[in-house]
Symmetry: C2
Subunit: 207 residues, 2 copies
Amino acid sequence: MPDESWNTVGKRDDHKAATRRQIQQATLDLLETAGVEATTVASIAERAGISERTFFRYYDSKESAAVPGQGELLDALLSRELAPSMSPAEIFQELAGACREQFAHEVEQVGFGRISRLLLREPRLLQAVSRQEMHLVNTVSDAVEERARLSRMQAQLVAELIACTWRVAWQCFAREESAGRTSNPAELFEQAVQNLAEISAPAAFGR
Amino acid sequence: MPDESWNTVGKRDDHKAATRRQIQQATLDLLETAGVEATTVASIAERAGISERTFFRYYDSKESAAVPGQGELLDALLSRELAPSMSPAEIFQELAGACREQFAHEVEQVGFGRISRLLLREPRLLQAVSRQEMHLVNTVSDAVEERARLSRMQAQLVAELIACTWRVAWQCFAREESAGRTSNPAELFEQAVQNLAEISAPAAFGR
DNA sequence: GAAAATACTGTCACAGACTGACAGATTTTT
DNA sequence: AAAAATCTGTCAGTCTGTGACAGTATTTTC
């Protein structure tokens, strides 16, 4: 038997990752056809070839098994440099940039269309996303407050605006996609940022 | 027996309203001491003097029995005049005005402090609020799109920004309140709107 | 004022979500 | 190969939430 100790992933991790994918797959399959309400965890577990108990060792609900995590987005946001010398507007622009790149990237992922279609018609899944966003806003808010030395209110607003822009861009893109039209993600995101400025700052765009 | 038919509320409505209050009260009492997790619907029902089954005829979960509805805010927003001639910024200002007044009003309500303290330390209750906000955003977004003739993206952004400002102002106020300090609600809300503009419109504040 | 229609509540029964405990199997480490 | 750590399934149990039915109170109708 060849030595593969250089490889950090062993059989255990492989199997875990595979199980995760199977659960995701099974969940999407069933939610797509029967809807969130009518789908039971038992049926998901059966389709994924595991016990019901094991399902809950991977995900804490069928909703969270369906929606993708926001870990990458969070990482992208936290990896940006935020100096105390920057103005709130500059910080927002910096983070929005990270968001735009990540957005364009995630749209390319396999299964994006599938999940977005599901999200548009299943409020309970949107709820699950909202829970993740709550965590993201808190984390980003804390980071901004500490690293950029903004007031609590400013930091929170920056974080909320980031999440808000992301949400709107995402939803607009998904709607376009569902309608058969195709659009440029980065451009769409930038358009959201642009509209945001126009809406909230009356003086800057006076007639 | 005196004729009271002029009074639109009969014994039935009275009793219903009283039961609602009892449930709210019992829920807050128990959540306050034991937390959301540890409190069962059965215990709430017992304290409110009703059966468990009846509890679910009034509220669909213990979370929603604890948080106040957003019906008044929604009414206030929808009662504002939105003409197609208005710019997105003007629409936002108009709605923000309604929000500010409602905010100052709600802060005065009895039980506000109690609920806000609870919300600050119970994520599950925040989740329940978030569900209501989702509905509010959708409703406002639709109204804005139809009555002010904005693009879907603009309408959605306006609605999200309203909700966002409300949330931040609310949270800041609650935090101040919890810390023993007292602040002016209308002023605080206006400050949030101000900061919002400063954050999202770089060109307007570039010194 | 009685009778009929309507609304509210409690009891019962049940499905589904989720968790703790334990035992057996598998992988990893020594 | 033995020991330790990890993963999984089974079992039993609590809690949430809902449909069905019957009994009671209220309102409406005559």
